[in-house]
Symmetry: C2
């Protein structure tokens, strides 16, 4: 189709930070809908129709993983099963196809920005719900700092400005007037808030009795990234950023560790992502931190994703901003600080850890819908009894706290619904047909085990039995996802003892783990020569004497090297 062939790929639309150069085209209305089949294709094509609406010119920039999307152009009118590029064929295309088809996100009109759609946002809400409780349990209060920060603030901490200045967005006009004309400073849109936090902390912290001061905010941040990718790296993104101030370095260190542990627990237990927690190398430490702790996740393409970080900031910002307190002996001291963040990037991590060729696969504890009920009937007289049974099953599950949805739409066949909800990653499906109604039972299918193997017949509808079975099975699915991801991770980490072995491991797409005590220059050389960076020095270290893989000198720790997002 003519319309379809003009569709640029989501990939290309996400690689340039500039906004669409033909703004009128952005809003171009076409009566293209007439050419389209009705849903599901229409629904599924939504991801593409937006692309078509953008009509962006060919990109001048390119990207390692860029895909010029030969396949996607013809996909619009095809069945969903063909719409998602096989993961093995093109991981990046597969990722973007899932985001579009499962309606997780769209790009915004400004290049590199992202609209998080309800289904994607619901995953973010699940992340928020869990972490927010943990933050409060550990003594943190939510609050809100303004997003506009005087440019001068960012210059106060030397390494901070070095890290962030290339990515800043500046507001220069306010209320129709150039700010400079009004003798006011340039304003930046926050890329992170350590500077403004310290500015405020100097005003709230006077005595040791004001410490520890432990706050968090859920906010948007802006980083003018050159290479963007939905969820993983966008010009604006959502996150939480925790900021704390303490009286001693020990307390700050304990706090930084506590928060990376909360993130680790979240990743394992909720997102079923077997992250590797550890310490960043000096080269990879956050701009302004003394130490950065990280959780590193292995994606389905075996690239690493930094999924959360916790920084021990030492006194770097408190010295730059003069954040001091009077200690118990009446002495003025600079506070010791931490900051820690998890962002909407985590959603990208969930997609790329668990998804398969069929689409998204969500761990039950994160899934906005845990169970989809699909009623099946042919004759009109079957409909009433099937729907009534489906409704009561829904109520039973809902009452026991399970997130359940009944798809009783009549426009779609059960087969279509099976495919659709599998693509959306719903962990469990309950099928109810006339025969099931007669026998008082249901059929249950697992998203993580395709076909007949994942199907169990004859589960009793009796509330207490059904409830217990479903809960049990959801737990099993949650564990299975973690188990599978862990096995995948472990089979793709190679222990290396020389640079040659490291290069070999990286070249076949694996992670390399080996003793490391070499210089920053050596680390940069590895990056240049292999594309891999030190993801972390994992907290869990092998025992025994270690010899640096690069220099042959004694080493205290092994490091993990990998290519990353």
């Amino acid at each position: 189709m003519a319309v379809a062939s003009r569709l640029p790929s989501l990939t290309s639309l996400f690689t340039s930070p500039s906004i669409s150069r033909r703004p009128t085209a952005v809003l171009l209305r076409r009566s293209r809908h007439n050419f389209r089949p009705p849903p599901p294709s229409q629904l599924l094509a939504a991801g593409f129709s937006m692309q078509s609406a953008a009509s962006s010119p060919p990109e001048t920039e390119d990207r390692v993983n860029n895909r010029k999307s030969p396949a996607s152009q013809e996909r619009v009118n095809q069945d969903r099963d063909q719409v998602i590029t096989p993961r093995s064929q093109d991981f990046n295309a597969w990722y973007l196809d899932i985001i579009a088809n499962a309606e997780l996100a769209d790009y915004g009109p400004v290049r590199g920005t992202m609209v998080i759609r309800p289904y994607g946002y619901a995953i973010w809400e699940a992340i928020q719900d869990y972490l927010n409780v943990k933050f409060k349990e550990t003594g943190h209060s939510n609050m809100y700092f303004p997003q506009f920060i005087p440019y001068s603030f960012i210059e106060k901490e030397a390494s901070h400005v070095e890290g962030f200045s290339p990515e800043l967005a500046l507001v220069t006009v306010g209320g129709g007037k150039e700010l400079e004309e009004k003798l006011v400073l340039k304003l930046i849109v926050r890329p992170t808030s350590e500077t403004i936090v310290n500015h405020m902390f100097t005003q709230w912290i006077h005595s040791h009795r004001d410490l520890p001061l432990m706050v968090n905010q859920w906010a948007n941040v802006t980083r003018w990234e050159m290479r963007t990718k939905p969820f993983v790296r966008t010009l604006e993104f959502l996150w939480q950023e925790g900021h704390t101030a303490h009286a001693t370095p020990e307390e700050a260190e304990k706090e930084a560790m506590q928060m990376i542990e909360i993130y680790t627990k979240f990743a394992f237990e909720q997102a079923a992502i077997p992250v590797i927690p550890g310490r960043k190398s000096k080269v990879e430490t956050f701009a302004g931190a003394s130490k950065t702790y990280t959780i590193e996740a292995m994606m389905g393409d075996r690239k690493a994703l930094q999924a959360g970080t916790s920084h021990n900031l030492g006194q770097n910002f408190s010295r730059a901003f003069g954040t001091q307190f009077t200690d118990e002996n009446g002495q003025r001291q600079h506070v010791w600080q931490t900051s820690w963040a998890v962002s909407t990037r985590f959603i990208g991590g969930i997609i790329m850890t668990h998804g398969d060729d069929t689409g998204l696969m969500l761990p039950p504890k994160i899934a906005p819908i845990q169970v989809i009920i699909v009623p099946i009937w042919k004759k009109a007289d079957e409909k009433t009894s099937v729907l009534s049974a489906a409704l009561s099953v829904k109520e039973v599950l809902q009452k026991s706290g399970i997130k359940v949805k009944l798809d009783d739409s009549e426009q779609r066949t059960p087969g279509w619904k099976f495919n659709f909800w599998e693509m959306k990653g719903i962990p469990m499906r309950i099928e109810i047909g006339p025969r099931d109604v007669s026998s008082g039972s249901v059929v249950i299918s697992r998203r993580d085990i395709p076909g007949k193997q994942g199907k169990v017949f004859g589960i009793s509808m009796e509330p207490s039995i059904l409830k217990a079975y479903v809960k049990d099975k959801l737990d099993e699915i949650q564990s299975a996802l973690l188990g599978r991801a862990t096995a995948f991770r472990d089979s793709n980490i190679v222990d290396v003892s020389s640079y040659d072995e490291l290069k070999e491991a990286i070249s076949i797409g694996k992670w390399a783990r080996g003793p490391w005590s070499a210089s920053d220059a050596d680390e940069l050389r590895v990056k240049e020569e292999t594309g891999a960076t030190i993801r972390c020095f994992p907290f869990e270290q092998p025992e025994g004497i270690k010899t640096c893989l690069m220099t042959g000198n004694p080493a205290d720790e092994v490091a993990i090297f990998a290519k990353s997002y």
Copy 2:
């Protein structure tokens, strides 16, 4: 004291949108802490110490309610009771004193911006928790739109651009480069999202089956206001904005009404604010809306606060953006839309409705802490039994879902704690002393009834009795606050039948309610001559024949006129 005399007032710091002109002074460190008494003054002085830190030059702009703060300068070292300006003496000073002393908010380093501190943010979370549930119950999904919008978008809807262009903030530099150089358009930071929402809706809405589309986002927005006031009007603020699209004008109208009803219910039942819901005049209608519904609240100074709005946007934006769907007959139609919002301004409304000379007064259903327990002991041997009783009372209440805090700090006297938590607006206090422990009872004080009258002795500690009593009493306080505010409101609305009567009512600070069918020009004349605007045509209308107070012509409705924030 020398330091204190250099403190500018919060008022003056909130009236200019420009940022501090002496950035180095912003971070000036002083060893002023040595001059200060320890908490509570120190704690209470936090609001002032920040002001001192800002060291801003005198303001050139002025404002009707501006206060040059003669009193506040000497307040720093005084007792809290004197720190809050009496409400009757200077309402605006009182308001700012409460915000500073109760630690609800501070100004940010950029003029007109606000840092929402944990206690203020907790009130926002209570607002969010309630509304978020209601939004979802009524079929809305949360999602997130980017905050950067191409400037061209704002120009598409004629009245929208007229309304918003004077308040826009523009991003002109991204990633270290002038955006114009890169041939990209000017970007605005969203003042509201109707334009980008429509841009996306055009891509998601194809058929009548895609309707209604009902979404909401919790987000920050930026309006470059010239005159700012914490919570009420700030350069950046937090809000929720709902956006919906419907197939018929009736559905859109029903939705707009439904949402103003949810806001009204929230105001009455949760915030204990007896708002008057109604329709805005054409002059006061939102830029781009066909109809604007509003809830208008009477503050303690009898000025009106627009506390929430719901707009029937008609087809104004859908025509500007071409947001169309194919109806059941295969015809292309523009969608009918609504948008509706409540912001952090509501917190200002709560403060100004219920607060008194003692400080903040929070309705129990909004209060982050509903009950404060103050243990009282003199001798060491009393301490153990009192604290243990206090702890078990806390646990009893906590288990029954009451938000309770035990203030067991030893640095402060019970009397100090009483004052402090009253100032923070906690609805109920439980006192437990040695004699109470012996008699197995507690003393309960109400925030809304000062002194002995609000105190009840001998309430049994027996869990089921105490629990029931406290719950009951909290409900009573909630009702009492609403009742008091309603009586205040009603005694300050005057029914008028002529312009002279209207002028008289406004001149003594009251609201005027009278029949109105005059022109927009007449409405603007009233504003010019009296300072009052039509707040709304209330939904609740008196019966009988009405004659326009201005023209003597027949009128369908009464309007409410008032000065407003």
